[in-house]
Each structure stands twice: as C-alpha cells, then as structure tokens.
Symmetry: C2
Subunit: 193 residues, 2 copies
C-alpha cells in the first residue's frame, strides 16, 4: 500500500493581497481533512501552525474530539482525529515522516494556479512503486507562498474546470486531489485501471 | 455541454439516531458547494430548506455575498453565490429545473452507504448524451432519508476507501463526486479519455 500523508499548512501562505501570513485555525478544515485522511487510509495528517497560541488551540480541539467529550459523542470524529499531528513547520512534518518511515517523503505542493513544471497525478503515483512516502501539502487562506513551494519537491497540476473559476475550498480540493490519487471508482474498476 | 445542477438538502435527512429531521443551515456548506458548482461550470445550485426562518437566513447570507458587503469584499464568492437558488423542497427544485430546461432532470441521490441498484459514474454521464439535465442531490447531517431517495430516479455508488471509514463531509464529498463526473485530470488527457 502507498504511504501517504497530508499537511494542512497555515504558514507561509498568502492573504488576499499576496502578503505572506500565518493564518488562523479553521476548525472545520481540521475535521474535513482528517475525515479525508481516514476515508482513504492515509498514514497521517499534519497540521502545520507556527503560532504557539493557535497550535495550543489546535491541540485542545484535537484532544476534545479524540479523547474528550467530543470523542465520546462522535466516535467517527475521534477515529479521524487520531491521524492528526501538530507541527510548527513543514520541515518539522517532513522530519517526523522521515523518522516514522526511515526515509524522507516526496513533498508535493498543491496549487490552484498553473505553474511551469507541475507534475501529473500519475507521476505522483509512480513514486509509490519504490516505497517512498509521499506528503501532499495544502495551503490555507490564498494558498501556499513561494517559500513553501520551494520546500516541496514537486507541485501537482491544479484542478481546472471548463472556465476560469479556480476558487475551491481546501476542504473540497483536498477531497478531490486525494480521490484522484487514491480513489477507485466503479468506472475505474470497469476499465481495469 | 452537460447540464448539471447540485442540490444541498436539509430535509428529509437523518440525524445521528436515524430520525428524520430538517437540519440547520451550515454557512460553510453553501460556500463550498457554490464554489464546486462554479469551478465545474454547473448550471445551478439549489439549497433545499423547508424551515421558513432558516430559508430567510440563507437568503440573507446569499444576498450578503452576492450583492452586499461580502460581494464587494470578495468577488469570487459573489460569482459562486450567483448560482444559488433557494427552494422549500426537492420537488420544487426539480420543477424549477423543468421550467428552466424544458424537461425534468434525472435526479441522482448520493449516499455514503452501499445500496442495491446504485449506478456508476459513467451511467450518469451517459444520460448527458441525450441532453437531459441532471440533478445531483446531497444530504446534510447523517445523509438523505429514504423518502428523499424515493424522490430521486437513481442513487450513485458511494465513495469507498480501503477500509470501512465512510464519513466524508458533504463539502469534500461534493467535490469528489462532481470531479468524478465532470473533472478532467491531466492523466485523463494523457489517456485520451
């Protein structure tokens, strides 16, 4: 089985005016990405947040849903939240994967904007054949800043529709991208893919 | 081009204890599904909400983002929200599509649970060849109740991962399902699909 991790990055990302910021926690993002990770059998979900108070808030929230009253109320959320790990930086997430897997991951950035050299979904799947772990990196706010891109080994081609509109939420985009990489629809089965 | 609509249904849906309820509005659901609809060039997005006060709240929210201060602040949200229409029932949404398109849609339910007779993504795509509009119906809370299923013409096969976990948010699931139906990845292009 491929070894795949998700990262939800709160810094360095852009705001609306393309300034580099650390974004605030959005609780529904943590739930939704943890649920994507659990559905597709991923190996972990990193919440990358450099702000100490925001990281403490994330830790409280994860504990609430994993072992606190939230977990007792809704076991499905507890199961998903068990995949979450907090780090202060993307580098720390990559180091953690290297420790867990014995080798560093291929870090793959995601973007809503076409970039030269972006790689295909099948190219990412090919890295699995040699057993290297893969970390798919998502940005919050207006997306990963260039310095986050520079910390990744590759950038995945954006999701494009028939028009110019390219403003999916990270909640929807993460589902789509992980499904394209790992999902198997009945149609695929019919086509023997 | 295929004529496709989304519906986000707040009644009849199940709660945690499998009782039929009308669920409350979740503003992030409206944003995320509107953004999925805008990205994939859909023809409209119905918010099905039978509770008058909740429908008024939805109307206020849509107006805020479409023509109010929200729309001035973020034009991308205005563009997506322009696709939203409020109805009190699924039947009303189907009637509206019949009026707009000159024929009733094929209403396709979605579910997280395997059901006998569920149809494939390619089967839905085949209905497009004869020009019939398609309405993809999503449930809030714990999913569409049986009586909502009965109002649909077909039910789409669920998204399944390698394990048993099947608790995606409607925000992620809507992205995945619309992408499977309408998305074209670089890989597909390479494969000439």
């Amino acid at each position: 089985l491929p070894v795949v991790f998700l990262a939800l990055t709160h810094h360095p990302v852009y705001n609306k005016n393309r300034e580099v910021i650390a974004s605030a926690l959005t609780t529904v993002d943590l739930h939704d990405l943890a649920r994507v990770a659990a559905t597709y059998g991923l190996d972990g979900f990193y919440v990358v947040q450099p702000l100490d108070d925001q990281r403490r808030l994330a830790a409280d929230m994860i504990a609430h849903w994993q072992s606190g009253p939230g977990g007792a109320y809704n076991r499905d959320r507890a199961e998903a939240m068990a995949l979450a790990r907090l780090t202060a930086s993307l580098a720390e997430a990559k180091d953690d994967i290297a420790r867990r897997c014995g080798r560093p991951p291929l870090a793959v950035a995601t973007t809503a904007i076409s970039r030269p050299g972006a790689i295909s979904y099948s190219a990412v799947r090919q890295t699995w054949t040699d057993g290297r772990p893969v970390l798919i990196v998502f940005g919050t706010a207006w997306g990963l800043a260039d310095q986050a891109m520079a910390e990744c080994d590759a950038c995945l081609a954006p999701i494009v529709g028939p028009g110019d509109y390219n403003h999916l939420s990270v909640r929807s985009a993460a589902g789509i991208i992980i499904d394209r990489l790992l999902g198997r629809s009945d149609d695929d089965a019919n086509q023997g893919r």
